[in-house]
Symmetry: C2
Subunit: 161 residues, 2 copies
């Protein structure tokens, strides 16, 4: 492995580690558990599950690898706060969405060469990227891994079953 | 910046981002707030604050840069769960400890060259590192940044004041 490959493996490994922890946490819950809040008056598990899936679905766009598959889900799970009175997709539907998003990301990530991970991401201009080459695709992945960790800290406050 | 420097800046940037968020969250709390739990029956803010400081104090050792300055604090804040009946250091003492740990880390991090961040960390053997060169010092920092995010997700459930 050359240095660039090592660093890409570190970034991808970090993402997979946090994603694996998220999947373990969510998969331990019953469908009823998804209606539990992480703390009184705070987000429900179902909201955080949909939220992470939507944010990861949008990763394709920022990485220049495609478009979100379910852009309409950004409204309830990203632009709006959790709303127990709103109609959400079923847990089964969200699980299928989660699986599809992450399977597709895995496939797309495998198409990027180590060098391409260090190209600019789509939310930064050429000019700003020239000034700060850390604003690359791999850094987006590092940030999203931190975002998973942030919410899994909350999800893990809820006892399954 | 050469490629190695870019990686190191990404890793350090990630750490600083999460640490900055942690400091902002903790600094918004009054001393009384530190006795609040993040959710009913869960860790108090004071425990998570001491926990992060102790874990970061131990970073010096795993990075080969020194020894923890207050090893006796690992017992209450790392090896044992939160215990509201136990005697903890005051918030003022913990704030001084937090500041000392992170000031020292900043100084020590600045002594490492980009190449040294890719040397093995002290919790992995030479043999295992030869098999997996991602187990380097910079990867420890990425992991600790994720650890901060995990707990700050919890801390941010508490309203200050």
């Amino acid at each position: 492995m050359d240095q660039q490959e090592i660093f890409v493996q570190m970034g991808l490994g970090n993402w997979k580690l946090q994603l694996g922890r998220a999947e373990k946490a969510f998969n331990a819950f019953s469908d009823d558990d998804f209606n539990k809040t992480v703390a009184p008056g705070k987000n429900r598990i179902i909201y955080l599950y949909g939220h992470l899936a939507v944010v990861h679905d949008a990763l394709k766009e920022i990485l220049g690898l495609g478009k979100p598959s379910r852009p309409e889900l950004a409204e309830p799970f990203l632009h709006k706060p959790d709303d127990p009175s709103a109609q959400y997709p079923s847990v089964a539907e969200l699980k299928a969405y989660w699986a599809a998003v992450h399977t597709e990301l895995n496939t797309l990530f495998a198409t990027l060469t180590p060098a391409e991970w260090f190209h600019r991401h789509n939310a930064v201009s050429d000019e700003d990227f020239a000034k700060d080459p850390t604003r690359n695709k791999l850094n987006v992945l590092l940030n999203r891994a931190g975002h998973i960790a942030y919410h899994i800290g909350q999800v893990n406050l809820v006892k399954a079953g």
